[in-house]
Each structure stands twice: as structure tokens, then as C-alpha cells.
Symmetry: C2
Subunit: 348 residues, 2 copies
Amino acid sequence: MTSQGPDTELPLLIRAARGLEVERTPVWFMRQAGRSLPEYRALREGIPMLQACRTPDLVTEITVQPVRRHGVDAAIFFSDIVVPLAAAGVDLDIVPGVGPVVASPIRDRAAVEALPSLTADQVPDIAQAVRQTVAELDGVPLIGFAGAPFTLASYLVEGGPSRNHEHTKALMHGDPQTWDLLCSKLAAIATTYLRVQIEAGARAVQLFDSWVGALSREDYVRYVQPHSAAVLAGVADLGVPRIHFGVGTGELLTVMGEAGADVVGVDFRVPLDEANARLSGRYPLQGNLDPALLFAPWEPLERSIDAILDAGRAAPGHIFNLGHGVLPDTDPDVITRVVQRVHSRSAR
Amino acid sequence: MTSQGPDTELPLLIRAARGLEVERTPVWFMRQAGRSLPEYRALREGIPMLQACRTPDLVTEITVQPVRRHGVDAAIFFSDIVVPLAAAGVDLDIVPGVGPVVASPIRDRAAVEALPSLTADQVPDIAQAVRQTVAELDGVPLIGFAGAPFTLASYLVEGGPSRNHEHTKALMHGDPQTWDLLCSKLAAIATTYLRVQIEAGARAVQLFDSWVGALSREDYVRYVQPHSAAVLAGVADLGVPRIHFGVGTGELLTVMGEAGADVVGVDFRVPLDEANARLSGRYPLQGNLDPALLFAPWEPLERSIDAILDAGRAAPGHIFNLGHGVLPDTDPDVITRVVQRVHSRSAR
């Protein structure tokens, strides 16, 4: 046995997220736990999404499934972006084929003031699920997650998934004080939700701002960045790496980094070396294979994987991932093959 | 009467598109003809979309309605991106609430080879509708339009609207020769469709590549640009300005310009002065008010209009527009007010 410094005992993912030496590039996939896996579909049969997310044994099994099958270097906690809202008491449901549907959309001051807050004792099941999952994962790190204030606000204001976010933007521009109150409350909810996960054993967190690519940089800086920054700052004392990701955010990479990220997630539209240049080489990056390419034949897919690994070397650290979530019809064997390629191709 | 050069007899829109002197900024709106207008909804009552698009009297009236109501500086020909495909003989329908649905998605070589071509004599109704509309417009210029090859291909390959374009990208990367054949055929169809409109009296054209923002720049240049360039080159001899627009194309502005545009359309995510800088000041620009802002109170909306007019002065020409189409629930009175503001604020 050779003697090793303490750094090499950290999981690969954490070292890459910290810009430390790695023996190969770690890899995981957004939405790796879920619809693409037959063992997931079997387990979920007849169980509504929100109920599944609040049942620790199910959450544990679903979170561990892709680690077992694909050999990825991290697990992502199985949950939904609206789970902390439901736990706080917002009347909503997750409708199959639609997404979250909010009973009473929040569009005025009174509704914002009435939005409940979230305390850790409202989500004992989440803490329990994290503890069980960490035990089951046997050293593979678990990534906790929460939706960022803008994306949560969009669901609440629109009443569900939205392509254009018109009511959200109308509130943001039309009544900035109410908007700020809404996002402050959502930032507090997201912070609580992340702290619960970290305190129960999550080794990293990802703040998902799924829809934020719908904003110009100016609007992001003015209306969104302070609230995302509050969430990221709100878990800083817990010392785990904070990954910050959104879709279509080529215009926003720098300001999303400056919100307080340790790792910036990059969608598939911007090559990692270019993203690294935009970010002045200051952040380890995560990404960014186009999930649609998992439907292509292996040869072009392999070329894309290799190109991403090459481009990722420009950054101070690289966590291989997709540039968006796994699509439901993805062949899970292809996902496994991508993991194998990343592992073999990136070994030093 | 003062003597005037021939340039001042050109419509405002054409002068702005050519980077010539204008007395104020011209304005029109993508999707100005359509769902936001009660007079449109009344006229369409009970008439399927494809049928409406092939009925010259209806097309004329629908195209003219927003000019009459809002006093915009151009009309956009009322049609749908899939009309030339249907006219060529592709079995498809436009389903309310869904969009185009293709009976047999095109995913292999044989299907691509079987894709029919379009000749001008298959769309006499389109030529007639354009002629009637031009007569009715009494000097206000009509903009013709067509969907670009990538966006048309996405509808045909996916079989309908798609969020992720996975089958399209799989074909593009997996079988580039079949992809190129498909896009060459679609480029020919789009070219024919635009030539028919220009020869019947359209004074400008817009090539819409609605979904192209789903691609990285590298993929755009390799798989899409040559085919869009073929369309734009294919109408060059007719001498009308060619506007080229897509959504979420901040990464693609330069390469969309280089495809052969006279005017580059900019979506709402990139300010016009920044777009102009990316394009090295080489193109008049069109855009780029966020259509969601039409749902905000007047004060922030007015500020945004003014900021766009100011930013647009950086470019060699500016046509005011939205950064995407008018949303269905938009209040038409707000649209009229935007036109009035642009007209009064931009008068020299």
C-alpha cells in the first residue's frame, strides 16, 4: 500500500468539483433516475409521482438504480422540483404527461404573502430517504438538489409548465417588489430543502434553474441572480460543492457562476472550451452531451463524447454529464455505454 | 413640393432593411395576423387551418386585418410553415392545440427519396392570395415567408412539434448523406414557395428557422447553414430583402447572417447593440421585444420599447418587431399602443 494524502480519499466527483487532481473524469446524468429505466417504471407502476417522492424506501431504490446499472460516479437524489412547495403546503399535483399543476396560481401580493414557508420538520421523509440512500450507495456520493427561485416562481405564477412564462415576466416587470418577495420566500424554501439533504449526507448539491434561459442577461441580473445567490450562500457553511445549471444559458454563464456556484453546468449549445473562456477559467464545468445524441448511432455519439472530454480539459475541472436531462425514450444500454466510454477514454 | 430621390419612394420597411435613410423605425410583429385578433377568430370559426391557408379570400383578409387595426408598416403573409409541404403532397394536418401532425414521419433514405417536390403550379391559390393582398394593402409592403430546411425537417422527422428534436438530430448525425438529401429537397420546396410569393408581389421575405436554436454552432454550420444558404441564394436574383430569423439563436447570429441574410432577426435574449457587435455591424437587425412583456403594465413595457429603439440605433438599420411571435392571449390594444409608441418615439 502506498501512502495517500487526504484528497485522494474524497470521491472523484468531489475532487473534480473542487478542481483537484482526478485519475479520470467523473460522470453522471441529469434524470438518470427515472423514466428511461424499466426497473424504475416497474417500481412506479400505479404510484403517483408526489407520493413516490415522499416514500423513503422508493426514493432510495429509485436513486440507487442507475448507479447499480450504469456504474456512474454519483447518484442524484430522486425528487421533483415542486416537492418542497408541496411539503410547505402549496396545493399542487404532478399530472402524468403534463407536469406540476398548481391549484391556485400565485399572481398578486396577497397570494405571495400567503405562500407558506418550509421548515426541516416538514420533510422528515426527505432526511430519512437521504440517510438510507447514502448507506445504500456505499461511498458513491449523493448529489442533493433543489429548483432555483425563478423556476419555482414560474410554476407557481403560470400554474404549471409554460413555454413563454408570460405571467411570470409580467409580474417580474410589473411589480418588482412583489416579485422579490415571492423569490425571497422561494429562496428560503430551496435553502431549507438543500440543507436537509446535505445534513442527512448529500456530498454535493445542484441548484436547477431549468427555465432561466428564457431571460435576457439584464433581467437575470436584476430579478433572479440575487435570489439564486441567497440559496447558494445559504448552504455555503455546509462546505459541499454547489453545481448551478440551467438550459439555454449561453448568455447567462458568467452571471450564473457569479451567483455563487462552485461548478457551472453547461447545456449542449456551447462547447465546454468556449464556456470556460466565457467564465475566464474560474470554474470547474459540468456537461454537456446533447441528450438527443443518445438516439444516434454509436459512431457519431462516441465522437461527441470524445470531443466533450477534450474540450473539458480546458476547464479547471470537468464532470461529464448531459447538457439537459435524459429523455424518457432513451435506451438505457446506450447510457451504460457512454459511462464506459467516459471511464476508459478519460483515464490518465 | 421638394424633389425627392427614388429611395424615398421605397416603403419604410424596405429602406430600413437596406440600411437606407428612414424618417422613423418601421414596425411589424411576427404572428400579428392570427390568434390575438377577435376579427381573426371570428373569420376562422369552423374552418380548419390548412383550408384557411389555401383560400385566397380568407388569406387576404387575415393578412390585412392587423395592418388595418394596428397601423403596422408591413403585412406578413398569413400561412403556416407546413403549407408548402402539404401542397407538395405530404400527408399532414394542422391539429388545433397541437400543431402540424405528419401521417408518416420521414426517418430513412427511402422516405426521404419519396418526398415530393413542389412546383409553382401546385400553389396557384398562394400566388392569387398574394396578388389580392398586395392590391388590398395599397402600398404597405407584404412580407412573404417560408420555413427553413432544418425546421421543416424537424416536423417531418419527428412527425410533429418536438421539444428535443431527438430523431432529427439522430438522422443528422447518424446518416449525414440522407440528412443532406432531405434538406436539399426541403430547400428547393422553400425556394419555390418564396419565389411564388415574390413574383406575385411580396416586397421582402422572411426565412423562419423556428427551432434552430436547438443546435450548437458547429452542428448548424455543418448540417444546416448550406441548406438555408441555398434558399436565400435561390431568391437573390429577385432583389427583395431577405430576413433570417430563429429563436434562441444568440450563439448562431453570425452564421445565420453568413447564410446570406440581408437582415438578421434577433430574439429577445440578446440586446440589439450586442447582436450588432457580434455581427460586426454588417446587417440591419429586426427585433426584439419579449412577447411576454405585452402582458406587463404599460410603464415597464414602454421602457423596454424605448430601450430597444435606442439599442437598435447601433445597427445599420432597424425593423422593430417582437423577439418571437405574438402570444395567443395578447391584448390587441396593447399591440396597437406599441406601434404608436414606436412611431412617435422613433420619428426623426
